[in-house]
């Protein structure tokens, strides 16, 4: 590295970055602080700015969801389970159906191939948010309200993932497919034994992005889950904030917020290398 020595500029750079990181971390830090105090301590100004000793009590109260715990009787444990099942189903579902459809689009010639490609492509342009009422009606007509199928299947179609795999498959040398044919391997054998192992990095990257996408869904489960026992945590936590002037139990709500953030955050931090690669490449 041959960056020139300019200690002043470096000092400004570090100062700016440290301030930036502190501002970015502050909301999460305060959520953590709030989750370690009693409801009384968080209900009157000045509130404490350093962690307290009620952490265990607050998280236990949130997870169990007892009637007077501030979660309004909803069990955060149950919500975490719903979120986890949905996020994993969406992530793996998207990866699987995108892998096989990209395989078909790249390695086969079949009638209407171009049309199929464009039909998948156009889904990029129709996010759930712009067609919520009719999509909700379709789900209701199919009897999929309050089910994992309703929460996940409509979100599984993914133009982005299909494109990524399509691009990747096109960069795989033709010799590999030729060799497989010479050896008498059928298309599915080639797919499982050669393409899938080669795609491992792309799959890991997409897993991070799609897991977070699935975990953080809000509008869709808000419509599909009308019963409390099918609330993912992101919807459930919103329901814990009382309307109007009723006292908000910030300590338990923030404990829930920390629990809602922890799994996607762990995934991003632990798989950071693949995540960054996947994010920057998917959007190209």
């Amino acid at each position: 590295m041959s960056i020139e020595k300019r200690p002043w500029v470096d000092a400004i750079a570090h100062t700016t970055l440290i301030i930036g990181v502190m501002v970015i971390a502050f909301p999460i830090y305060m959520a953590w602080v709030a989750s370690t105090h009693t409801a009384q301590a968080m209900a009157q100004w000045p509130i404490p700015l350093l962690p307290g000793d009620q952490m265990f009590e607050n998280y236990a109260a949130a997870l169990s969801g007892s009637e007077n715990s501030g979660t309004r009787g909803m069990s955060v444990y149950r919500m975490l389970l719903v979120s986890l099942i949905s996020a994993l189903t969406i992530a793996f579902g998207k990866i699987i159906i995108s892998l096989i459809s990209a395989f078909a689009l790249v390695y086969f010639r079949f009638p209407f191939r171009g049309l199929v490609f464009w039909c998948i492509f156009i889904t990029l342009m129709l996010p759930v948010e712009v067609r919520i009422v009719p999509t909700f009606k379709v789900i209701a007509d199919l009897g999929m309200l309050n089910s994992y199928a309703g929460l996940t299947v409509p979100l599984i179609a993914s133009a982005t993932a299909t494109f990524l795999f399509r691009q990747f498959f096109k960069s795989v040398p033709n010799e590999l497919a030729e060799a497989a044919k010479v050896d008498g391997a059928g298309p599915m054998r080639f797919f499982f034994d050669i393409l899938i192992p080669l795609s491992a990095t792309s799959i890991a990257a997409l897993f991070v992005i799609q897991f977070i996408y699935g975990w953080n869904q809000y509008l869709w489960p808000l419509l599909i889950s009308t019963k409390e026992d099918m609330y993912p945590i992101v919807v459930g936590i919103r329901r814990m904030i009382p309307a109007g002037d009723a006292q908000t139990e910030w300590n338990v709500i923030m404990a829930t917020a920390i629990l809602a953030m922890a799994p996607p955050l762990m995934v991003v931090l632990l798989m950071q290398k693949w995540f960054v690669k996947g994010l920057v490449e998917t959007e190209k």
Partner: protein
């Protein structure tokens, strides 16, 4: 440059079986509802779906004659410009500095990507807490310097709240793209400019910024799409479009009119208009991506 793969395998049914799962989901959950929205936008039905009649373009003319709809456009416009400009600006500053402090880049990156993992609705709740008039740290600090903060009553405060929460949530994404862009600038270019005696300030304006322009335009479109469609959770968790309709962006209005006010025809017409906007934005995005590939 990816070479064109020749098509090798032959099967009459296998490719169809492989695209079937994706195809069925797309047909049932994308095309059918989108078609429904299109049909419904020319119909009027009562709240219980008992009677339906064709009304031509009445839903659209009613929308465009309604000042409330134009107001929602205005709110969305202000909101998305603020989110895009502030978010891109701050992320650019952080990325340029993070790129400079070579050995610490990855440490800063690991810390700045946190908000990406946070759900919009949860991000809204975190900021709602900080801006709570009674116990919010930021709201109370503002009070100490003479600003009576109340986002439930003051529309500027409500807008500021959703902009701050939305920028916070999106900053990681912008940062990662700028950082990747900066790191792909050839080192030889930077070194050559150093030999010419260009300082960091000069280098930023004459090399880094021009080479980042494709990333910049790409992020502009992505941030506007984000502000239009992905901020629903933030708004629902904080202002719910209030006070009055002061923070009701278009997507929130589709939801409110469709599910709370049960005005299905109008909601469908709004959906059709939104779909048109998304298609235009996506087309714009692809135009810039072409440029990006070619620079």
């Amino acid at each position: 440059m990816s070479q064109k793969t020749e098509i090798f395998f032959k099967s009459r049914w296998l490719p169809w079986a492989l695209v079937a799962p994706q195809g069925i989901i797309v047909l049932v959950f994308f095309f059918w509802p989108a078609g429904q929205a299109f049909v419904n936008s020319f119909q009027e039905s009562d709240a219980f779906g008992m009677s339906v009649e064709w009304v031509g373009i009445k839903n659209f003319t009613a929308l465009f004659a309604n000042p409330a709809y134009w107001y929602s456009f205005k709110v969305t416009g202000i909101f998305s410009v603020l989110v895009a400009v502030i978010g891109i600006g701050l992320a650019l500053i952080l990325a340029v500095f993070a790129d400079r402090v070579v050995r610490a880049t990855l440490i800063y990156r690991s810390l700045i990507i946190w908000p990406y993992a946070v759900a919009p609705a949860v991000a809204g709740i975190l900021w709602l807490f900080l801006f709570s008039p009674s116990v919010g740290v930021v709201a109370r600090s503002l009070e100490a310097i003479g600003v009576q903060w109340n986002s439930l009553l003051n529309s500027d405060h409500a807008m500021a709240l959703i902009v701050i929460a939305s920028v916070w949530k999106q900053i990681s994404y912008n940062f990662l793209f700028f950082l990747a862009g900066l790191q792909s600038i050839p080192k030889s270019l930077i070194e050559a400019s150093m030999l010419d005696g260009a300082g960091p300030w000069r280098r930023f304006w004459s090399i880094q910024l021009p080479l980042l322009s494709p990333v910049f335009f790409f992020l502009l479109v992505i941030n506007i799409v984000y502000a239009f469609f992905d901020t629903f959770g933030i708004i629902d968790a904080t202002t719910q479009g209030g006070p009055g309709k002061e923070t009701e962006i278009l997507v929130y209005k589709v939801y409110f009119d469709g599910f709370k006010a049960l005005d299905l025809g109008s909601s469908a017409a709004q959906s059709v208009i939104l779909m048109t906007i998304v298609i235009l934005l996506t087309a714009l995005q692809f135009k810039f991506i072409d440029k990006k590939v070619n620079y």
